[in-house]
């Protein structure tokens, strides 16, 4: 049942694991720059961003790349659909922050997983104005995105359109409406009541 040095060396998978279909053609994993150019070509002015390169390794140096994108929210859903045509994208998580006038969501996707050294991380930023923080759901493409979308609703006050389950996940039902823990513009009176610093209270 066991093999010599299991999990090390050449992967014993069939090579068809490593091909994807794009536009009806069979393709292999793209380098990050090519993927970025393809996105640029299809989305034009609506996306901007850069490719970051990092080096890893001690004796054998290897490079890995991340694509950081900023996309208009009208085309965000389309971008995820575009990615899912190549491979079911892996969504690590959606993070977000309060950037003053707007709320910035960052969806951390990755493509080409399952192939040695080829995975490309895509960090997709979407800015939403605070008066109208609405974004399309991606649960129709990735059902697993539900929890992270629900979390963004309760933590940042984002409205996710067509979300199948809009309830809260992590915060308690006692948390007042309109208070969003990750925002910076909360009412200080409400915050004072909700947040306790136990070490200052001598506990």
């Amino acid at each position: 049942m066991r093999k010599k040095r299991a999990g090390m060396g050449e992967a014993p998978y069939k090579k068809d694991n490593e091909t994807f279909t794009y536009d009806g053609k069979k393709v292999t994993a793209y380098p990050a720059e090519k993927l970025f150019d393809m996105i640029k070509e299809d989305f034009g002015e609506d996306v901007e961003g850069e490719v970051k390169t990092f080096t890893a390794g001690v004796k054998k140096k290897k490079e890995y790349k991340e694509i950081w994108l900023k996309v208009k929210r009208e085309r965000f859903h389309e971008l995820v659909e575009w990615m899912s045509k190549i491979q079911v994208p892996h969504l690590a998580v959606a993070s977000g922050r309060d950037a003053g006038e707007e709320i910035e969501l960052i969806y951390h996707f990755s493509l080409f997983y399952g192939i040695r050294d080829s995975e490309v991380s895509l960090c997709v930023k979407v800015s939403l104005p605070k008066e109208d923080p609405v974004i399309d759901t991606i649960t129709d493409i990735l059902p697993g995105a539900l929890i992270t979308e629900r979390e963004k609703q309760e933590m940042l006050g984002v409205k996710v359109k067509n979300i199948p389950d809009p309830r809260r996940v992590f915060t308690s039902d006692e948390l007042p409406e309109g208070y969003y823990p990750w925002r910076n513009d909360n009412d200080p009176e409400v915050e004072k009541e909700l947040v306790r610093d136990l070490s200052k209270e001598g506990l």
């Binding site: 049942m1 390794g57 079911v88 993070s95 977000g96 960052i106 697993g144 539900l146 308690s172």
Partner: protein, 414 residues
């Protein structure tokens, strides 16, 4: 079917979990027809604490205490994200030491899990035996880091303690021990007829479901998705090694089904994989002298982080799957944004397809099969919808149901 269904809520008290959760199961006789998850009972607001009160050095120890078993995985991802945000490159020796601690942790975590899984199916002899062999790696960790868990080894820009000749010798002798004991481990666990009958075709997660539910780690690999950050996108010293993700069909020589048994196979062979990785890492460490931090003076590091502007992501393949951290620095003492994504966060969703169609007696092992750090007692209420009567059923009772099932199988085997 509709008139004969029951609602079975499990939880929410679950002290052993990072996030206590509650399941609301709808059952038809013994079979689960629908599952609903209710999470967030132990949300500690760590992200809020760090972004409001802690500087990046303090946050390492907050990250370490997100999970007791993954107490290297979270700092690993966290320091990576901080280094990317501030543009710091750790020295080579530090990268190797980080990977060594990460792999030692994987060995102890997987063996711990194997014991929990054995307990859930009522095989307590195996629980005690696996936890006995787990002591060896914990002793090594204690010897080289000072603690059995919460090692406090990581810092931004390197590691805090070096592993000397003696430490490498200790690691090597521990690896020898695990290589010797591994055959027995396989024989008592994977090749055991009772374990196999009890876990085969239970809690199935198909490959398509695993991809769509964004499952990570052994949960995804058990379904045949060869997804492993160490292989897909090698970081630190992992780039020097030829690792490939373990999927079950290589060892079972059967078609990958994505059931509990496949996940057991993946985890147990990952122990062996970690042993091989550690052998290579020890050789690498011996041939790589050098400093262990990029900057000895912590005050300089703190000031640099305070001035830094940038954002970065850190990913590490923890025993339970990929740990993901996102940090952003913006000329402030505290990080501006810190987002932690533990592997169980992604694997929650895969419970739903796993549980549908299983029997109540199988629920404990299905819950345990994604390794959500589950160990302690749970309370559940069985509500009879027709009469409105309800009675409380403890997890113990449920486990006993599971144990009875194992006994039945044993009898049938004999």
């Amino acid at each position: 079917m509709a008139e004969k269904t029951f609602t079975v809520p499990i939880g929410p008290i679950h002290p052993a979990l990072k996030e206590i959760e509650s399941f609301i199961l709808t059952v038809d006789g013994e079979r689960v027809v629908n599952v609903e998850l209710d999470l967030g009972y132990s949300h500690r607001g760590l992200e809020y604490i760090v972004t409001h009160r802690c500087n990046p050095i303090q946050a390492i120890y907050i990250a370490e205490r997100i999970c007791g078993i993954c107490s290297t995985s979270h700092p690993y991802a966290y320091v990576q994200s901080m280094e990317h945000a501030a543009g710091i490159t750790p020295p080579e020796r530090a990268e190797i030491i980080r990977a060594i601690i990460g792999e030692l942790e994987r060995i102890h975590s997987h063996i711990l899990w194997a014991g929990v899984a054995a307990h859930e199916i009522g095989f307590d002899t195996l629980l005690h035996w696996t936890w006995k062999i787990r002591e060896n790696v914990l002793d090594v960790l204690e010897a080289i880091t000072g603690n059995r868990i919460n090692y406090a080894m990581f810092t931004i820009g390197g590691v805090r303690r070096d592993i000397d000749e003696k430490g490498i010798r200790q690691i090597r002798s521990s690896l020898q021990f695990y290589r010797e004991v591994f055959d027995t481990f396989v024989a008592t666990f994977i090749e055991d007829t009772t374990v196999k009958m009890r876990t085969r075709d239970v809690g199935i997660l198909t490959r398509e479901e695993a991809e769509k539910q964004v499952a990570v780690g052994p949960t995804a690999r058990g379904s045949g998705v060869p997804k492993d950050v160490r292989y897909d996108k090698p970081y630190s010293a992992y780039a020097d090694l030829d690792i490939y993700p373990i999927v079950p069909d290589e060892f079972t020589h059967e078609e990958t089904k994505g059931d509990v048994y496949d996940r057991i196979v993946v985890r147990i062979f990952e122990v062996l994989q970690s042993v091989h990785i550690l052998e290579d890492l020890c050789d690498l460490l011996e041939s790589t002298p050098g400093p262990i931090t990029y900057q000895q003076n912590l005050v300089v590091v703190l000031n640099q982080l305070k001035r830094a502007v940038g954002e970065g992501i850190g990913r590490h393949e923890a025993p339970r799957g990929e740990v993901f951290h996102y940090s952003m620095l913006n000329k402030r003492e505290q990080p501006v944004v810190w987002k932690v994504r533990a592997p169980t966060y992604n694997n929650y969703a895969s419970w739903i397809p796993m549980m549908k169609g299983t029997q109540i007696a199988d629920i404990p092992i299905v819950i345990a099969s994604i390794d959500p750090c589950l160990s302690c007692a749970d309370r559940m209420t069985v509500v009879d919808e027709r009469t409105g009567k309800s009675r409380v059923m403890t997890l113990q009772e449920m486990r006993e149901m599971g144990w009875r099932k194992t006994k039945e199988i044993k009898r049938r085997v004999a």
